[in-house]
């Protein structure tokens, strides 16, 4: 039996890594991949806790997170392509028209 601390620690480290990537990277595609990393960290935590608590809610939530991630991938990558059409770059430091 796997101790419950292992998935929690792994999920925490992966989530912090993904958050760091979102903060420091400027390529929009890499930022998108870091968001996927954070979603996977949360999924791992859900599966670890629900396998310990003998509950079916965790895997169900993981499946909904995957559905949302698929929708996010389709729309997010379409947005990245639209941004590239506009300025022919995906460096997010070039997109500042909302800056006050």
């Amino acid at each position: 039996m796997i101790p419950v601390s292992l998935p929690l620690v792994t999920g925490a480290l992966l989530f912090a890594l993904g958050a760091f990537g979102v903060l420091v990277r400027r390529n929009a595609i890499v930022i998108f991949m870091c968001i996927e990393l954070m979603l996977n960290a949360v999924n791992l935590t859900l599966v670890g806790l629900s396998s310990r608590l003998h509950s079916v809610d965790g895997p169900i939530f993981v499946m909904f997170v995957m559905a949302v991630a698929a929708a996010e991938a389709a729309v997010g990558l379409a947005i990245i392509i639209a941004l590239y059409r506009r300025k022919s770059t995906v460096d997010v430091s070039n997109f500042n028209i909302l800056k006050g």
């Binding site: 999920g11 760091f20 990393l37 670890g48 895997p59 392509i81």
Partner: protein, 188 residues
């Protein structure tokens, strides 16, 4: 004991893949690191006794989402950033982001330590059978029927949104091929 060793091995693999995603300059290298992380996390799901979720993870994440990401990288024909790592330690704002991420990780680890003390050890040490496909299907089409239908609507909206966002207005040229065509040694 061997399960714990395997778990730590695959968890380290997932973390190394995540480091590759964050630190590599070339987005294709990041995508390969992400693929490695997805497969390691699928192995962790198997060790948790839910092989069905592991298969879903491989099919949806490694099969669909990552292919979409790689396809976008190929489609955009970005300038070659070269191999190696990003130099995020040179900019003060990025150092601040590093401090913030370390603090976030510490907070999450503290929460994990608290959660471990709050969760009682189960009486039976068997693997859970709740994550098997039959139990999952019964929960999904019973207790969680409304969220399931809403997820279907969400996917439909995502399809429509993706088509609308990438549709080219009438009369404009295909700009997606233009930008680096004049650079020497750029795209073939």
């Amino acid at each position: 004991m061997v399960y714990e060793a395997l778990y730590i091995l695959f968890a380290l693999g997932a973390l190394i893949g995540g480091l590759n995603v964050v630190a590599r300059r070339n987005p294709v290298n990041s995508a390969i690191g992400l693929l490695f992380t997805f497969i390691c996390i699928a192995a962790l799901y198997i060790l948790h006794g839910s092989p069905f979720l592991a298969m879903i993870q491989i099919i949806v994440y490694a099969g669909a989402i990552l292919i979409l990401v790689v396809f976008t990288i190929m489609l955009l024909a970005l300038r070659q950033p070269g191999a190696g790592l990003t130099k995020f330690w040179t900019v003060p704002q990025k150092l601040a982001a590093l401090v913030g991420a370390v603090l976030l990780g510490g907070e999450l680890l503290y929460l994990a330590a608290r959660a471990v003390t709050l969760i009682a050890e189960p009486a039976d040490a068997e693997l859970s059978t709740l994550a098997q496909p039959a139990a999952l299907g019964q929960a999904l089409f019973g207790k969680f029927l409304l969220p399931f239908e809403v997820a279907g609507v969400l996917l439909l909206a995502a399809i429509v949104g993706a088509v609308v966002l990438t549709r080219r207005p009438k009369g404009t040229a295909a700009m997606i091929d233009a930008p680096h065509a004049d650079e020497k040694g750029g795209r073939p």
